[in-house]
């Protein structure tokens, strides 16, 4: 969606017309679900978090500064919603993704395929690795690797200085490497 179209939709939503919120929901539901799934670990909780994040976003639009970009602001709300949901349900990140219609993207990377003998095995092991690392490590890996945000966007979503993103990613990746090592995957 073009930024000017997005800004216009947000402006109309700010005026209270929920009809103009639908295209925004359509535009952000797929990446939003990917992020929520990465943070929650299962599709049902991810959908709940995503739905609630959209509702909160609409209700908070009155305070939204049109000079800002909508995307990072929405993902910030979604991230907070995922954290709140995990805490309020006393839940923990649960990996229940394999039967949820998640489709692995074909990699074409023979080396990676050799190391992790099958795609499903690769997914299962990496998800289990993500399960083992802490919430803070997991969320930054999800934002970077699963959603592909740039450092400036991650900084905005996590409300941290841009310079901190790289060091957090370093610690998160090391934690994931250690977790995968415990699961029997050794990187060179």
């Amino acid at each position: 969606m073009r930024p000017e179209v997005e800004r216009e939709l947000v402006r109309k939503c700010k005026a209270g017309d929920a009809r103009f919120f639908e295209p925004l929901v359509r535009a952000y539901e797929q990446p939003g679900l990917r992020v929520a799934l990465g943070m929650m670990g299962n599709a049902e909780d991810a959908r709940d978090a995503l739905q609630e994040a959209f509702v909160k976003t609409f209700r908070a639009l009155g305070r939204f500064d049109l000079g800002r970009s909508f995307g990072p602001w929405f993902f910030q709300i979604l991230r907070n919603q995922c954290r709140d949901l995990l805490r309020s349900r006393q839940a923990r990140f649960k990996v229940e993704t394999l039967d949820e219609g998640l489709e692995l993207r074909s990699s074409g990377d023979q080396e990676g395929t050799d190391r992790l003998t099958s795609r499903h095995e690769a997914q299962a092991l990496l998800w289990r690795g993500l399960e083992k690392i802490g919430e803070e490590h997991r969320e930054i890996i999800v934002l970077k690797e699963l959603q592909g945000f740039r450092y400036s966007e991650i900084a905005s979503i996590l409300e941290i200085p841009e310079g901190t993103v790289a060091s957090r990613l370093y610690h998160a990746r090391r934690a994931l490497k250690d977790a995968l090592l415990e699961l029997g995957i050794e990187y060179p």
């Binding site: 929920a18 359509r26 190391r115 310079g163």
Partner: protein, 142 residues
């Protein structure tokens, strides 16, 4: 180039393509001169590739999210309007009731019927609401 001069966060920014051309040249030079740094970089590179390769496309019931969001956004407005309308009608009916020239017995009989109907209605709604709360299949699409 002293590989020790490359900080972990610089290595991350290099890995993620977030460095300037000058920084890239400096880090590439450091990598070329240190097998230890090369090994560390290869580790992160491999892990990043594996994470990218398992990216998934969550299957989304496309209508579901918007429908659920829309319900949350529009229903409260509907309830508020219904409540306001109900209050106005009840107030108007009470005004007519008390100011009408009908006999007291007629007023009492009518009042009893109206209160009875409202109590029954409230009881049915409450029962339905309670069974909905405990229904384990309430989120299933019918």
């Amino acid at each position: 180039m002293d590989p020790q001069s490359i900080q972990p966060d610089e290595l991350m920014r290099f890995l993620d393509g977030e460095v300037s051309p000058e920084e890239r040249n400096r880090i590439e030079a450091a990598l070329a001169g240190s097998t230890e740094l090369q090994r560390e970089f290869a580790l992160f590179r491999s892990m990043k590739d594996d994470l990218l390769n398992i990216q998934f496309e969550p299957e989304l019931r496309r209508a579901a999210i918007w429908d659920r969001v829309n319900r949350h956004l529009t229903r409260p407005i509907g309830w508020i309007l219904l409540l306001i309308g109900g209050v106005v009608w009840v107030a108007y009916a009470a005004y007519l009731f008390f100011t009408s020239p009908a006999d007291l017995i007629e007023k009492l009989a009518t009042g009893a019927m109206v209160i009875g109907i409202l109590l029954l209605l409230a009881s049915v709604i409450w029962e339905q609401y309670r069974s909905w709360l405990t229904d384990p299949y309430r989120d299933l699409q019918r």
